[in-house]
């Protein structure tokens, strides 16, 4: 699949009329680049070779772990025809970690809240609590995460000052300045776990709200189904307390489809993370892609390829992990192959 992805991106790049020489050639007004300069730039960028050769070279370097050098901000090494610039690998990995911290933190938040809420709703079906939870989750699904992010950033963030309204702080060490991938401005740094967490609070809440709604409903439906099973009645007959029944017996068996949905939602999660990153200005995978796509001088191919590759890897790994967890929780799934047969969302 990763091969297909890279091929697709390369083919797309070919389809668009972009001339990456603009990155290396002096385009200041009043200076018309000479053909020799353009040829030199194209040679340094490697785009003067036929497209198959470019692709082959890319794969070869990839096999050695080299993701290339970004087009954006690249420049010639003085007096030679080589070019230096921002290496794609570390940038993309850092962006992946930023996105990862948003997604994982938000998902944890969502799961931690949705399981108890779903269990409570299931234990009192059709009561006021249940109905309220249903209505609130319905509202949560139907509100666009973008609107939530904008409102959270504006009001608790900027106006009431409850939490910092944006920017990312690395967890480890001190990174004094980082460049905003879109505008190239340098942002004042902050670092350390405390700052990292406080800057991520609003993004986590935004991310969690949407998934909270979906997972709470799913947990509720599953718990209601599971509570009707005979083994629950057996446990009660054996004298287990209600708490033990819910925690030890029911929840375990109800979690299967929840985890399946989590696995299937990785793509959706990345999409929502894109909205969140763009509003809160976190330099994650989404913003990096947008920056690579919309630079004034053209499309930053190595960066786009790097991001696409990393996303592909993440998805493959995530699905694999989810499969392992499901197998651990319910060994019968190995025979049934149930994960692939899920057909549609439970909104």
């Amino acid at each position: 699949m990763l091969l297909v992805l890279t091929l697709l991106t390369f083919a797309l790049y070919r389809a668009i009329p972009a001339n990456p020489a603009g990155f290396l050639v002096d385009l200041s007004p009043g200076h018309v680049p000479k053909p020799a300069e353009i040829a030199r730039a194209r040679k340094a960028l490697g785009v003067d070779k036929p497209i198959w050769e470019q692709y082959g070279l890319y794969l070869w370097r990839l096999a050695h772990g080299d993701l290339g050098i970004a087009y954006e901000g690249t420049s010639f090494v003085p007096l030679t025809d080589e070019r230096v610039g921002q290496p794609v690998g570390p940038t993309v990995v850092h962006a992946a970690m930023v996105t990862g911290s948003v997604v994982l933190g938000g998902a944890l938040f969502a799961l931690l809240l949705s399981i108890p809420l779903g269990a409570i709703a299931a234990s009192r079906p059709r009561s006021l609590t249940d109905r309220t939870i249903l209505v609130v989750t319905l509202v949560g699904i139907c509100t666009h995460p973008l609107v939530v992010a904008l409102l959270l950033q504006q009001f608790p963030g900027r106006q009431w000052g409850l939490a910092p309204p944006g920017n990312y702080c690395p967890f480890f060490g001190s990174a004094p300045t980082t460049a905003d991938p879109l505008s190239g401005r340098h942002l004042v740094g902050c670092a350390g776990p405390g700052a990292w967490a406080s800057h991520l609070v609003l993004p986590w809440i935004t991310f969690a709200l949407f998934f909270l709604a979906i997972y709470t409903r799913l947990v509720r439906v599953r718990m209601i189904e599971v509570m009707d099973e005979p083994f629950i009645r057996t446990a009660a007959a054996k004298g287990a307390s209600r708490r033990r029944i819910v925690r030890h017996h029911a929840l375990r068996n109800a979690m299967g489809p929840v985890l399946t949905l989590v696995g299937m939602d990785v793509g959706l999660a990345l999409g929502i993370a894109l909205y969140i990153e763009s509003v809160y200005r976190l330099p994650g995978l989404g913003l990096t892609t947008l920056g690579a796509l919309s630079g004034g001088t053209g499309y930053d191919l190595p960066m786009i390829l790097g991001v696409v590759l990393v996303i592909g890897v993440v998805i493959v790994v995530a699905n694999f992990l989810i499969d392992l967890i499901i197998l651990w929780m319910d060994p019968r799934a190995a025979q049934a192959g149930t994960r692939r047969s899920a057909v549609g969302r439970i909104a």
């Binding site: 991106t9 319905l138 973008l146 793509g267 509003v279 913003l287 919309s294 786009i304 592909g312």
Partner: protein
């Protein structure tokens, strides 16, 4: 009751087809009915009602009303009567207020207020923008249904390598974030497609969004159709049809297709809801409908800017209505579609969970 030949009145016990049963169940679901009513009203308002409203208030969605914004560029709120003139007011040097309009200019009603520094009618822009958003969402859903049903049926019916190729492909691409792919493709290839307007029937940029979203969401109906038809493939009625000599196409059309309609109907309503949110998101990110075409997403983008060009918050010109109105439109449309979809799902396949 007299003994003897007791004839049972069988008309009341007549067997009801699954669709009749489903319809009866749906009628009992009040939330779904209200939602369906709202959606019908919305469709009417957006397509037929918008020009009617324009006729009623006397101006269109693109007419500028500079008097509808105050000096700090804060637009007027809902239900405001503004002078019906498009000349920009000057500023009186003595009082630092806007110069009043020339005597005799009538006033016109802006039902939901003005839409920002340009002072256009927010409600009309909402309705015309609703046309675009709904066209995109419904069009993309129809496209996805068309492609997905065809490919899913073919894969399930013929099996073998066709099936494995289609299944692997759908599995792979479904895992990938649609949004990112859509944006990458949207920027690269939509240049030529976005100007196609089908003779003015669609606005600019609508067709490319329809194609984009539709081409990335057809996997879901394909999976649904494929698993349904796989389970029906070896049933007796299909065998009987084959024995009678029905062609493959006829079997697929007449015998297998009616079974997938309920599941597809449920998916379609939820898909339209998702596509509305997707369109709003893509446009906000700057890659969807571009001005001057309005859509609900671009109304939000007009207030907050796009990702690449965010508009800074300015307390004196901020009007919460500009965010609330399109968000509420999106919210209620998505809400009714979701309720209708859940109602349809319950009607076609009731479980006792409620």
């Amino acid at each position: 009751m007299a003994a003897g030949t007791a004839t049972i009145d069988t008309t009341a016990l007549a067997a009801q087809s699954p669709s009749r049963l489903a319809w009866r169940r749906l009628r009992r679901d009040r939330a779904a009915l209200v939602s369906a009513g709202f959606l019908v009203f919305l469709a009417f308002a957006v397509f037929a009602g918008a020009p009617l409203l324009g006729r009623a208030v006397g101006h269109g969605p693109n007419d500028l009303f500079p008097y509808a914004v105050n000096l700090a560029l804060k637009p007027a709120g809902p239900w405001s009567w503004v002078p019906d003139t498009s000349t920009t007011p000057g500023i009186d040097p003595k009082t630092f207020k806007q110069t009043p309009p020339p005597a005799g200019t009538g006033k016109t009603l802006l039902v939901l207020g003005a839409d920002g520094p340009l002072g256009r009618d927010e409600l009309q822009r909402l309705l015309y923008g609703g046309r675009v958003s709904l066209t995109v969402a419904v069009g993309a859903t129809l496209l996805a249904l068309l492609i997905g049903t065809t490919l899913g049926t073919l894969a399930a019916y013929f099996g073998g390598w066709v099936d494995s190729v289609v299944s692997r492909f759908t599995d792979l691409v479904m895992a990938f974030p649609v949004l990112l792919l859509a944006i990458v493709l949207g920027t690269t290839v939509s240049g030529k497609v976005s100007d196609v307007t089908l003779g003015g029937a669609l606005n600019k940029g609508v067709l490319s969004l329809i194609l984009l979203i539709g081409l990335f969401t057809w996997f879901y109906p394909a999976r649904i159709v494929r698993s349904l038809i796989l389970s029906l493939r070896r049933r007796e009625f299909v065998e009987a049809a084959e024995m009678v000599g029905a062609s493959d196409a006829k079997i697929m059309r007449t015998h297998l297709f009616p079974h997938v309609i309920p599941a597809l109907a449920v998916w379609a309503t939820l898909a339209v809801a998702t596509n509305i949110m997707l369109e709003a998101g893509i446009t906000f990110l700057g890659f969807g409908i571009k001005l001057p075409t309005t859509s609900w997403g671009s109304m939000l983008a007009a207030t907050w800017g796009t990702v690449l060009a965010p508009l800074p918050y300015n307390a004196s010109s901020f009007s919460p209505w500009l965010t609330i109105i399109p968000s509420a439109a999106i919210f209620f449309t998505v809400l009714s579609l979701t309720l209708l979809g859940e109602g349809l799902r319950e009607a076609f396949d009731p479980r006792g969970v409620r």
